[in-house]
Symmetry: C2
Subunit: 296 residues, 2 copies
């Protein structure tokens, strides 16, 4: 029996690819040609019907129409299908000469803000009332190769409040930049601040992402997590998330962003009137000019 590919015009896809003109930049030609081939192969393999294709068109339009400054539904769909995690892996695969790896990266997600304020070490990112548990989070930022501390690294943290909402999406009205902050490491590479033990939340299911998750018969929940972006001019930055080890959604994260080295233990904290819990987390960064086999 012939394969689905053989039943159709064998030249159609190459005709579409060969229609690309001479002024198309080489990288765009490479990426777009691969995209065309995969889309066409997909359609032929599944013998995509007209109704299925039109449903896809309506789905894409709905993603754009639901997106605005505060919500990026297409970004969320990419998370749900694992694409952001995959792009992150492609960009950040890094193994040192001795086989060591820096702190794992994971997806940025749609809630990072470029406007997060600098705060003082030892300060708190909690500006608004909440029903959560306060933790002192602290640790060091260190060099993957030398193991020496990195001073003046920036630790940018953001997290949802105890109701599972980030500042700008909360109908209960958190103030702008609640639970966001940037901290600079000291001479010993140390940072410390007060934050919340994070709370699990569901992706919004009132749009196309909800439609897709229901069709997939998958959970919309993310495990509780703290977002971190750690950077220094001399190092490859890391965007990552930390997950409490007691979260039931570690095994079925709706966006495929959990990695083993990012699962952490919150401990009880004694003699601190400001916090019930303690979280130590050290971040390892790879030097930018490393002889390391970056992306190999």
């Amino acid at each position: 029996m012939p394969s689905p590919q053989d039943r159709f015009d064998p030249n159609f896809t190459s005709n579409v690819i060969n229609a690309i003109g001479p002024a198309c930049p080489p990288r765009a030609r490479f990426v777009l040609s691969a995209m065309l081939k995969h889309i066409h192969d997909f359609a032929r393999e599944v013998e995509l019907t007209n109704d299925e294709w039109m449903a896809g068109v309506a789905f894409v339009n709905a993603c754009g129409q639901m997106s605005n400054e505060k919500r990026n539904e297409t970004h969320r769909i990419c998370d749900v299908i694992g694409l952001e995690s995959l792009v992150d892996e492609i960009a950040n695969k890094h193994i040192s000469e001795t086989g060591e790896t820096p702190t794992s990266s994971t997806i940025l997600g749609p809630f990072w803000s470029p406007r997060a304020p600098f705060r003082e070490n030892g300060g708190s990112i909690i500006d608004c009332p909440h029903n959560g548990h306060v933790a002192l989070m602290h640790g060091r930022v260190i060099d993957l190769d030398t193991k020496k501390p990195i001073a003046n690294a920036i630790v940018d943290i953001w997290q949802a409040s105890s109701n599972g909402k980030y500042d700008f999406q909360d109908p209960e009205g958190q103030t702008d930049m609640n639970l966001r902050g940037k901290f600079r490491t000291n001479e010993k590479g140390e940072y410390h601040y007060y934050c919340l033990k994070p709370t699990a939340y569901s992706l919004p299911t009132d749009g196309p992402a909800g439609v897709l998750l229901r069709l997939f018969d998958r959970s919309p929940w993310r495990p509780a997590h703290i977002h971190l972006m750690v950077s220094h001019p001399d190092y490859k930055p890391v965007v990552t998330q930390l997950y409490p080890d007691d979260d039931p959604h570690l095994v079925d994260d709706s966006v495929f962003a959990v990695k083993d080295d990012l699962v952490v233990s919150f401990k009880p904290r004694e003699n601190d009137p400001k916090a019930e819990l303690d979280l130590e987390y050290n971040v390892t960064l790879a030097p930018k000019d490393a002889s390391a086999k970056s992306q190999l």
Copy 2:
């Protein structure tokens, strides 16, 4: 040297596919699994960068945000990448027992209207002023297997005016249903009506389709064409387009919808005060219950 696929987590894509739950319908599981595999393979093959992925997200959002009741930019993007032509081929591949084929189908495009009025045979679909050339279009609708005429077939025609605009997209204000009409074939399977020799036009380039066509370094032009949808309850309907043989864009149609048997010759028409030109076109339909090897 390892292939790009080998450098990344070999289990990631199967993990995402295996996360599909038991309540996902079998066809959706099949289509979505293939979609996930192709999207992931694409990203790994081209080592899709974060900036490229984010540009893709913004592009998809822009498609949805530009679409409305009168404009479907995502549909247009599918045309530009050849997907609608491919879906059409997959749906309509039909070869009779003797190896004959019915009239070729091609894409519907975004301009068909379900509200086109029935008009009398011999009437005109031209309701508004224009700068085009009027043609009498006529022919028969016949059975692929018996070659007998098909009475009471519906010939639904739609076309752009001489300015390249369809009724509902024309800023110069064509009346609703100008250059649209449905006709029923008589007992001899015949239809005839007055229409325009069609005019080539460019796809709108003020949105994402224009961005993509410029990146592809491709022409946005479509060859001049008349759209037809011919149907009868006992036959497989055909959606198609006819192209004048003197159009320079036959070779670089921006939506890959030209097929050899759809290229036609307009002839001079004598002694008809209503028309300068004459177009004869016979349409062949395949019976629905045919022993033909439908879709084989």
